[in-house]
Symmetry: C2
Subunit: 220 residues, 2 copies
């Protein structure tokens, strides 16, 4: 059987979210680069994969999927094993905790941590746009409030959805990884359970493999 | 068995998303009002239900849940019947289409349609803030691009995730309902398949029952 395909540059956080799911369930895949600077994501060929012209896209046989969290769910549902059961759909309470954690990641965590990463890393390195310190400072204040909730949660559970690794933890990894390359990485030291959670995640073979390709591009 | 409880004002779009799921699967519930103006959503009691102090929250016995789309998934998973199977988790492809549709609703549809609804309805009526027409105009342009994709999709399928009603359609309903009360409702006439989809949804007993309580509050 041909391996599944992931379309998008490996350094993209949304692509990384999909790749780490594939690594966790041990599925072979082909990564097909999409050249962002050449606007390849807006090409007719890619628009067939994703009508909004974004990345990643995913192919499994004739099935084309997009939206990284939807693709992640597909992978984790299809290739679920007794060792890797990262959606917990067979358990109503655990599945709800996974769903809550994903919504919190989307609505609370992502908007603030992505602002910091864009301002400190992506904008200067990729677009030659200097860091807007006010955006960084405002986002850091909001991030602290989210981290307080996470600290309380992780002082009672090993992982964000409970005492089991889930899609929630994996979905938080791409922007947390880049955040740890900003000047504000030491913020996590103030939240010891969050720090321990992150250190544990970062040491996973799946994440180490994916992050090896998450290098920031050269300056624009 | 005591009915499940939904905490939040009925006119809230996020509360309405949960209520329509309960109506579709025919589960009795108690709606417990949370007084937004009295800041009851930031009270210690509500923070136990939702550590981010937002609405709705949901209670089923001892289980407390929050985040409307996570609560919706819980309800539709727990009370699934052969007639009401709105997540399709037993079918890999259909479940993926539901997940994609929810992500598109979150990332593409909600940001633009909610801006229009806030500017035209909520801000003037609830906060005495006049409409910012530039925000409305910019959001309308973005909404058109989303509606083009939806029109293409709905010209091939009766519903957004396929030829079956799903959580995706239900999740789109609250802001679409309020959008139809703005001066821009006629925009949908340019997208005949979208218009027919909406008219069909709006005629469902579940949605008619929930929208009966979605009245805009008196002026601040």
């Amino acid at each position: 059987m041909a391996p599944v395909k992931v379309f998008g540059p490996a350094m993209s956080t949304n692509v990384a979210r999909v790749l780490v799911c594939l690594e966790e369930v041990g599925v072979e895949y082909e990564l097909v680069n999409i050249d962002f600077k050449a606007m390849e994501h807006k090409s007719p060929e890619h628009l067939k994969r994703n009508p909004f012209g974004q990345m990643p896209a995913f192919q499994d046989g004739d099935l084309l999927l997009f939206e990284s969290r939807a693709v992640g769910r597909y992978i984790l549902r299809k290739y679920k094993t007794s060792e890797a059961n990262l959606l917990r759909e067979g358990n109503l309470t655990e599945a709800a905790m996974v769903d809550i954690g994903i919504e919190v990641e989307i609505h609370q965590y992502y908007p603030v941590i992505s602002s910091i990463v864009y301002e400190c890393l992506f904008n200067p390195a990729m677009y030659g746009v200097p860091t807007n310190q006010k955006v960084v400072d405002d986002s850091l204040e909001k991030l602290k409030k989210v981290l307080e909730v996470y600290e309380a949660r992780l002082s009672q559970n090993t992982y964000l959805a409970g005492n089991f690794l889930s899609f929630v933890d994996l979905s938080h990894f791409p922007f947390t990884f880049y955040f740890m390359a900003t000047p504000y990485a030491s913020l996590l030291d103030k939240y010891p359970h969050v720090k321990a959670w992150w250190d544990g995640l970062a040491a996973r073979p799946s994440i180490k493999k994916v992050t090896a390709a998450m290098v920031l591009p050269l300056k624009a």
